[in-house]
């Protein structure tokens, strides 16, 4: 197991390197720079700023320097916020996005899997149809529609919640629901399909023939296998959720990393963009690894050494 994990981590290094390299050069191709402002800076000021941040050096030298600093764990200073470092900003924002992402993930898991199982137990009945219609609506309803809709109804019309911010406990309910709906709906559909497939398997028939109680057949024998595809998608989904959603964070005005990431791109804050991209990449690599481990645990037929 340990050698598998080490191997995967070593494999991740070139992946991350490619991501950094591509991002580094791509953002430099974008027109406009970090110091472009409503009123153009003087040449002297531009020179001073470029020298201060090392942007006056040849691009390749900047690149190697960035990698060198990165190796020492230094993501550099933010170009937009004088005196703030990139890692400081990321670590200030990420707990908020993580909290929101985790709530949404748990909510989606709870409702998505439950709904999927319910639907699969009574296929082609009103329960199945209504659950799946709901799921389909959830998939079709983008968060930029659902978010403002919930906000208008529950925050502005009924005045049950604050319309923006991330202060009190109740502030977290609407964003969590908005963020969870898509994943819950996806999970419901996948769970249903997967459960139906599993139910037709021989070992399920054997279990029923042995006279095991229905719930045991479904939940111990059936669900464990049916969950495999659910787990495979939940890794990247979780990484996506906790790294912050631009739309949800913008609609509810949550100071998380998702909103900041997009803002950094608009600001052409080079070091900030690189820092956040790298952070997301590490997160996704990590969660994929985690998923592989969980899958192996759920299904002993998957040998860890082969799954690489």
């Amino acid at each position: 197991m340990l050698s598998f994990i080490i191997k995967r981590i070593l494999e991740a290094i070139p992946v991350l390197l490619i991501i950094i390299t591509a991002t580094f050069f791509m953002i430099r191709l974008a027109p406009g720079g970090p110091f472009d402002a409503e009123r153009a800076l003087t040449e002297e000021a531009m020179e001073r700023l470029n020298a201060y941040y090392g942007l006056d050096k040849p691009l390749f030298e900047q690149y190697t320097q960035y990698l060198g600093n990165l190796f020492r764990g230094d993501l550099g200073p933010s170009l937009k916020y004088p005196g703030f470092t990139v890692s400081e900003i990321i670590f200030e924002k990420i707990p908020i996005s993580m909290e929101l992402g985790l709530y949404a993930f748990c909510l989606a898991m709870l409702f998505g899997v439950t709904a999927g199982v319910c639907a699969s137990l009574r296929p082609n009945t009103w329960l199945d149809y209504s659950t799946m219609s709901f799921a389909m609506t959830g998939i079709c309803l983008p968060s930029f529609v659902l978010g403002p809709l919930l906000l208008l109804v529950f925050a502005l019309h009924f005045e049950w919640f604050n319309a923006s911010g991330w202060m009190s406990g109740t502030d977290k309910i609407l964003p969590t629901i908005t963020l969870a709906v898509y994943l819950a709906a996806t999970l419901a559909r996948i769970t249903r399909g997967s459960m139906l497939e599993v139910q037709s398997q021989d070992y399920m028939r054997t279990a029923k023939a042995k006279g095991l109680p229905g719930w045991r057949v479904h939940f111990i024998h059936g669900l464990r296998n049916a969950l495999l595809p659910v787990v495979s998608i939940s890794g990247p989904a979780l990484a996506g959720l906790i790294s912050g959603s631009f739309v949800v964070e913008t609609v509810y005005h949550i100071p998380g990393l998702g909103r900041f990431f997009v803002q950094a791109a608009f600001n052409r804050d080079y070091s900030m963009i690189l820092g956040t991209v790298l952070f997301f990449a590490v997160l996704i690599v990590m969660f994929n690894l985690l998923v592989d481990i969980v899958l192996a645990w759920l299904n002993p037929r998957i040998k860890i050494t082969q799954s690489t």
Binding site: G83, L121, W160, A163, S164, G169
Partner: protein
């Protein structure tokens, strides 16, 4: 099992709703107790350095943190004593002597001295700092020469500390609006020791403005700042007039206009930075007491690149300007928030009346276009209208496109670009027509007319006109007010005739203000000192 699960769902829903229903008081209601002002500021400010900051969000915060020699009367703008207790003006109107308060203090306890102002003005006039508004100081004797490095000795510049508490400023010309200029944030002092402690004073990104580092001299001081999140300023007990400051804290919140409006309705904001156009119109029709829409010195205009054909021909530019129905655009798109701009300087800028407004005149426009070699628009190459992402800008660009096509039979292509791209293209003059708007920094026609001087850093049109420059320069030295007005009118008429710029609308400043906010008044410059603001429940 299944039944049990389905039965649980309504309970869960009731729990969620119930948890939320325990509706507490809103932040705005709580603020009455704590005297905490909650202000939306639009974007997230890049810098809180008064010499470097550009744009309204940063300035809104800086106004709370710093104070200049003079400050603004909250209601009707005339400058009132700030750090300077009193001042004298010499007979020729060129030398001002300011007597600084002995009890003016920085937030770390140091006294605010005349030397702080000399240090600050030297810093602003260093080209290396790139202070975007450094040109505002060029009215001071030798300031431009020092800025342009023709002069290296700062003692030759007309800013002298006669002693700790006396500051003398010598001007090039008697400037009637000089005291109005002093209330702008570019003239605010900064704390020398703090800046030097954190690095190069001429580095625009010197980290001295970080919370914990920042030392200021205004009624409030910086308590905390999270990037793209709340900035909290708390009352400065060492401020010379602290006993009259009634707010305890100000929370500045960078938010999009839509989020601001939601937050305002949910009782989370006292003041918004702006109101979306359509929303403002609706509130105006409902006569909402919370909507404040008052004239401000804002001109929404198109800037033309006069260095590129076909817009290098004055006749073409004038034709384009004449072929626009400004009233239609303003009524249909800019709505309650503006007036059609038939000239460049709004009336409110010192009761300015244009001597040659541009009205829609399609026949004349056609004639000029034909004269320039494009009869009925034939052979006229398509031109691009560059604008940054916003619903209003898109609608205006499309309306102008339609009017030019209908009236002159020429094709224009609206091109939407993200803000940074637009800036980069504008600053390198890589455009044909670009959307711009400008807020004047002081109440005088000069605040707008100086933008199109040949050496103005804001003049992206590439238009250079010696006669225009001469008129503005002459107006600067003219002491007779009616003669000065006539010179300004002549300059504006020339600007409108040469048309490097097409004015479209004069904007109102439109904001939402909670009823409990007292001592806050709309004004032409959209700047608000916080000294007199307090919160009181409406009866």
């Amino acid at each position: 099992m299944l039944k049990k699960t389905t039965k649980l769902i309504p309970y869960l829903a009731i729990f969620l709703v119930g948890a939320a229903c325990s509706k507490k008081t809103t932040p705005v209601e709580e603020a009455l107790e704590t005297q905490t002002l909650l202000v939306g500021i639009g974007g997230d400010p890049q810098s809180l350095d008064p010499h470097v900051a550009v744009g309204a969000p940063g300035k809104t915060v800086i106004w709370g943190l710093f104070e200049g020699l003079l400050t603004q009367h909250p209601q009707n703008l005339p400058p009132v004593p700030g750090v300077a207790e009193s001042w004298d003006v010499s007979a020729d109107g060129k030398t001002y002597t300011f007597f600084l308060r002995e009890n003016a203090r920085w937030s770390n306890g140091d006294p605010v001295t005349a030397h702080d102002f000399v240090f600050s003005y030297e810093r602003i006039l260093s080209k290396e700092l790139g202070a975007p508004q450094a040109y505002s100081l060029f009215i001071i004797k030798n300031a431009q020469a020092y800025y342009d490095k023709a002069l290296t000795d700062f003692t030759k510049v007309g800013v002298t500390a006669l002693d700790e508490h006396t500051l003398e400023i010598e001007l090039n010309n008697p400037t009637p609006y000089f005291l109005d200029l002093l209330i702008q944030s570019i003239f605010f002092p900064v704390h020398k020791a703090t800046i030097l402690k954190h690095g190069d004073p001429k580095n625009p990104n010197n980290p001295w403005t970080r919370p914990g580092h920042l030392v200021s001299n205004g009624p409030f001081m910086l308590k905390s700042r999270k990037t793209n999140d709340e900035i909290i300023a708390t009352k400065n007990p060492l401020y010379w007039d602290a006993e009259h400051v009634r707010l305890n804290e100000i929370h500045f919140l960078p938010m999009s206009v839509e989020a601001e409006e939601h937050a305002f309705r949910a009782g989370q904001l006292h003041l918004t930075y702006w109101v979306p156009e359509a929303k403002a119109q609706k509130l105006l029709e409902q006569k909402s007491p919370e909507l404040v829409s008052e004239p401000a010195l804002i001109v929404y205009h198109y800037c033309l690149n006069t260095r590129k054909p076909p817009l290098d021909d004055k006749r073409v530019r004038k034709a384009l300007s004449l072929a626009i129905d400004r009233e239609k655009i303003t009524k249909a798109i800019i709505l309650s928030q503006g007036k059609p701009a038939y000239n460049f300087v709004p009336y409110e800028a010192g009761n300015f009346i244009s001597s040659a407004p541009v009205k829609e005149d399609i026949e004349e426009a056609k004639r000029l276009l034909a004269e320039a070699g494009y009869p009925n628009g034939e052979g006229f190459p398509p031109i691009e209208i560059l604008y940054n992402t916003a619903e209003t800008h898109r609608k205006v660009a499309e309306a102008v496109q339609e009017m030019w096509h209908k009236n002159l039979n020429i094709n224009a292509l609206p091109e939407n670009q993200e803000w940074k791209v637009l800036l980069a293209r504008r600053n390198t003059r890589d455009f044909q027509v670009v959307r711009t708007s400008w807020i004047a920094h002081y109440v005088d026609p000069n605040a707008l007319l100086e933008l199109y001087l040949s050496d103005s850093p804001i003049n992206e049109s590439g238009w250079e006109n010696a006669q225009y420059d001469a008129l503005i320069k002459q107006a600067a030295t003219e002491r007779n007010l009616s003669k000065r007005r006539a010179l300004m009118q002549e300059a504006e008429a020339l600007l409108l005739d040469e048309a490097p710029v097409i004015p479209i609308s004069f904007y109102n400043m439109t904001q939402l203000k909670h009823q409990s906010v007292r001592g806050w008044y709309p004004n032409l410059l959209c700047t608000h000192p916080y000294n007199d603001i307090y919160l009181q429940a409406s009866k």
